[in-house]
Amino acid sequence: MGGHLNPNHLIFLGQGALWTIGLSAIALIGGGIVGFAVALARISPLKTLRLCSGAYVQIVQGTPLLVILFLGYFGLSAIGLSLSPLTAASASLSIYVAAYLGEIWRGAIQSVPKPQWEAAEGLALSRTQRMMMVILPQAVRIATPPTVGFMVQIVKNTSLASVVGFVELMRSGQIINNSLFEPFLIYAIIALVYFAMCYPLSLFSQRLERRMGRGRARLQPA
């Protein structure tokens, strides 16, 4: 009943924030691994791989993340596969992140200038060697700014994990609100914490993008 915001509450929020960062990292790594596979599949010479990965991306990008979360938590448990909120949220977010990162990375790979592909072929490198030694290193540079930018999306999207009961920052706030009944104040603080986490990432991504632009200009062919 009532009460005031005290340091214990803030510590609780802090723990929630740590879980937010943790879940974001899991989604980034899990989604990153699958996303890498998706990106490669999207440019594979095998048509079935291209179509399947393309369908995967279209389906995930056409579905709200909340629905994917519900599917992973309530849906799976209804057919007998019961997951903890953490596992369900991690799996759902990873599937979501994989589709978007896959597209970003596919775009980066395809942005590597055509002459580079041709030069690598001309040196009689196998397809794997071409990818590993020539194309991917350059694609990584192109992909870094948008990937960092997407990390901001990941952090924000972890807030939805609260809806399936995972206690990250948002859920911590709701729990505190159940005893304090100061929703506007609590959510304002939560907004500030998210801002503190996301804004530096946004700035970093913008700085990378500017540097990429300048670097690209210098790399014009002789």
Binding site: Q58, I59, G62, T63, P64, L65, L66, V67, I68, F70, L71, F74, G75, L76, S77, A78, I79, G80, V152, K156, N157, S159, L160, S162, V163, M170, P183, F184, Y187, A188, I190, A191, Y194, F195, C198, Y199, S202
Partner: protein
């Protein structure tokens, strides 16, 4: 242990799905219109010579883009309630979505404005057009045409994001799904059906925007080229 899926029980509820989908589209349309207008005004404001206006616009954009939609919805919901306003969940949802998409639209429109070559603005000035006339005839419509694909994607994302409004009891598609799955105990099938409906709604929206572009941009219609 076999898994039996019973889509029949879920598909019987198609009237509820239909009304939920309709509300989702309504939310998306209202928020698109209001948010598009807001975003355009903010994009204009960012280029203002008045430093206070320019800084406020930038602050608004950064605040929205670096906080989750769920937090924004709750802030709008509880904020409006604490002001004593009794608004329907639909109105609150539209307000929150408008504020959210306004910031993203502002960034997209700003890129569009910056893509207008200064030479054309000079030519318009040389023809004695006023600042307002230049914005309207020379900057606004070409900018929208240039960034139209980004705008379309943004508004489709908005429609998908409206699912979060289920958390403040707006009776859109996701809220309907939650209700049906608790009623039929068929969570898996329900959310699969809803996912399919959302994908269909995305396609409908994209087709709608394509058609709108056809009407709005006669040059593109006639020549088939982009600006």
């Amino acid at each position: 242990m076999g898994v039996t899926l019973d889509f029949q029980a879920v598909l019987e509820r198609w009237p509820s799905f239909f009304s939920g989908a309709l509300l989702t589209l309504e939310l998306a349309c209202f928020a698109t219109l209001c948010g598009g207008l807001l975003g355009t005004l903010v994009a204009v404001g960012r280029g203002s010579h008045n430093r206070l206006i320019a800084a406020s616009c930038k602050a608004y954009v950064e605040a929205i883009r670096n906080t989750p939609l769920l937090v924004q919805i709750f802030l709008v919901y509880f904020g409006l309630a604490s002001l004593g306003l009794k608004l329907s969940a639909f109105t609150v949802a539209v307000a929150a979505l408008t504020i959210n998409v306004g910031a993203y639209t502002a960034e997209i429109m700003r890129a569009g404005f910056e893509a207008i070559p200064t030479g054309q603005i000079e030519a318009a000035e040389g023809l004695a057009l006023s600042r307002l006339q230049i914005y309207w005839h020379i900057i606004l419509l070409p900018a929208i045409e240039k960034v139209y694909p980004s705008l379309t994607s943004q508004f489709v994302l908005l429609m998908l994001a409206s699912s979060v409004c289920s958390q403040i009891s707006a009776e859109e598609l996701t809220a309907v799904a939650n209700y049906i799955q608790s009623d039929t105990y068929r969570a898996f099938e329900t959310y699969i059906v809803v996912a399919v409906i959302y994908i269909a709604l995305s396609l409908i929206m994209r087709a709608g925007f394509w058609g709108l572009g056809f009407v709005l941009f006669p040059r593109r219609r006639r020549l088939g080229t982009s600006l």
